[in-house]
Subunit: 302 residues, 2 copies
């Protein structure tokens, strides 16, 4: 496979196995596209599907997925903890290999147009594909959720990018867009004082003057199995070239010192590009003149 | 590519570009085999060629390489600093993906047999492929070098594994065998006292009671460009699953403390499997329950 684009759509079904499998089958049966993973959350009533392929394969699989989800998922009957506005709620495209964010923007527009035409679901372009600044953030688009969407699309600023001022009666609307690979990464502290985690999160995140491209929040966690309670700094690293994992980690550790607190362990959630991890090895091992492209064996095989 | 085997033969020519290119062409022109790299050392008068492929592709390329080298390289006229006994001096096979050391042992025997038959060059099997304990170590086999080899193969214990008690008149003999991937890794110290590097090397290497699978030596280095002089602990990590890079690095740093010395930088020489580096990231980032196979994106693409 030369060019690789990844898509990680969320569908609004996390309980009915038959529906979930029927949706996932759309990926499985598409040439030029490989299913990597899928997992469901029952309380959110939501599933996330991960697949990769070249632009043509990902386009085909993505359109088929929305058609099938719109056929099987009825948002008028959907209940779950997670906010949602569509049968397929959000569909991001990420550049992984031999392609750029621009290629993914182009793909998102192609896929968005086809979704409106073939699945009859209106489309908002978001993130890098957004046509207005306020559509960059998915949360802003989704505000009002499925129940408020029929009215929202009538507002002057909220005409969908494809499909007109309407919603699909049972499948709602969908956000489609390009975004850089995101790394979900948590740091667990040896304290159960959530305020420490909140303070650290505030210092490291971009929003409050911390590291660019880092999102962070502090949580109080209780491990259901062991009963262990601890505070956690939960991060989304939206660009590991700008804010590498090791730099975020070292900053968390440095700020934790103020409270006499250490990081017990970190957690990598889901998938991560090898370069994001190897960048950290390069830092900690102090490797001089390291050439990622040439010296990592797998780069010659991929 | 499903199965991947790597070979890194050394040929006894590091000066004549035409001969080197003619040898490398044998790899370039073989299907099922990909040339990754080649580099020459003029003072050693020796070149190293790196290629990967499935067993069939690597077998074909390897036999072709020896035939061409035996045709073009004349050991009776060869001068260089590095000890050598054949036109292709040594040919290791390394399991990289979806294969085992046993598969590489099998391949080495197949290739060895064909080299004796088709290139007329007698073969010693070495490392994991060795048929006697004293043939495990390449240095023991090569002792006496090309000039002493015609006599050596007459000794009771030194009949080649393939090709009989003789040498090729100009191409000598060759060592062929399976070995695990090896990582060449150096640690540069902020002292020019070579004795410090020698002491550290002695403590960390397997031979003197250190870490299993680690070979190490201390060197005095002078950078020709900058004139900077420093001591270096130079390592071969012959099994990074047994002795990971980070453990060797931490042990070097710990022992250096005795002399008030620190590690200025490390150097990774040549290629390295991504897992060897990601294992270090996992250690330093303290990642809990990390699943290399599932969580590294590229593992789903390879």
């Amino acid at each position: 496979m030369a060019q690789i684009i990844e898509s990680i759509p969320n569908i609004s079904e996390g309980r009915n196995k038959e529906v979930i499998e029927a949706c996932v089958d759309q990926i499985r049966t598409t040439a030029g596209c490989t299913l990597l993973d899928y997992s469901s959350d029952e309380s959110h009533n939501r599933s996330v599907i991960t697949y990769i392929g070249d632009a043509a394969g990902v386009e085909e699989a993505s359109v088929k997925l929305v058609k099938k989800a719109a056929e099987l998922i009825d948002l008028t009957k959907h209940e779950g903890e997670h906010p949602r506005m569509g049968a397929v709620d959000v569909m991001p495209f990420l550049p992984i290999k031999d392609c750029t964010t621009d290629d993914c923007v182009e793909l998102s527009k192609k896929v968005g147009k086809r979704i409106a035409e073939e699945a009859d679901v209106p489309v908002f372009l978001y993130e890098y594909s957004a046509t207005r600044p306020e559509r960059k953030n998915l949360v802003t688009i989704r505000k009002g959720q499925f129940e408020g969407m029929a009215e929202k699309v009538q507002e002057p600023d909220w005409e969908p990018d494809f499909g007109g001022r309407r919603i699909h009666p049972t499948a709602g609307v969908i956000a489609v867009g390009a975004r850089p690979p995101l790394i979900a990464y948590n740091f667990n502290l040896n304290t159960d004082d959530v305020q420490v985690a909140k303070n650290i999160a505030k210092i490291i995140r971009e929003k409050d003057g911390g590291l660019a491209s880092v999102k962070a929040m502090g949580f109080a966690i209780e491990d259901e199995e062991t009963g262990r309670k601890y505070a956690q700094v939960s991060c989304n690293l939206t660009n590991y070239e700008i804010a590498p994992i090791y730099r975020v980690f070292e900053l968390v550790k440095a700020e934790a010192k103020r409270y006499g607190v250490t990081v017990t362990e970190s957690e990598l959630i889901g998938l991560c590009p090898m370069k994001a991890l190897i960048d950290s090895a390069e830092y900690y091992l102090q490797i001089k003149d390291f050439d990622f492209q040439k010296q990592v064996l797998e780069n010659h095989i991929l």
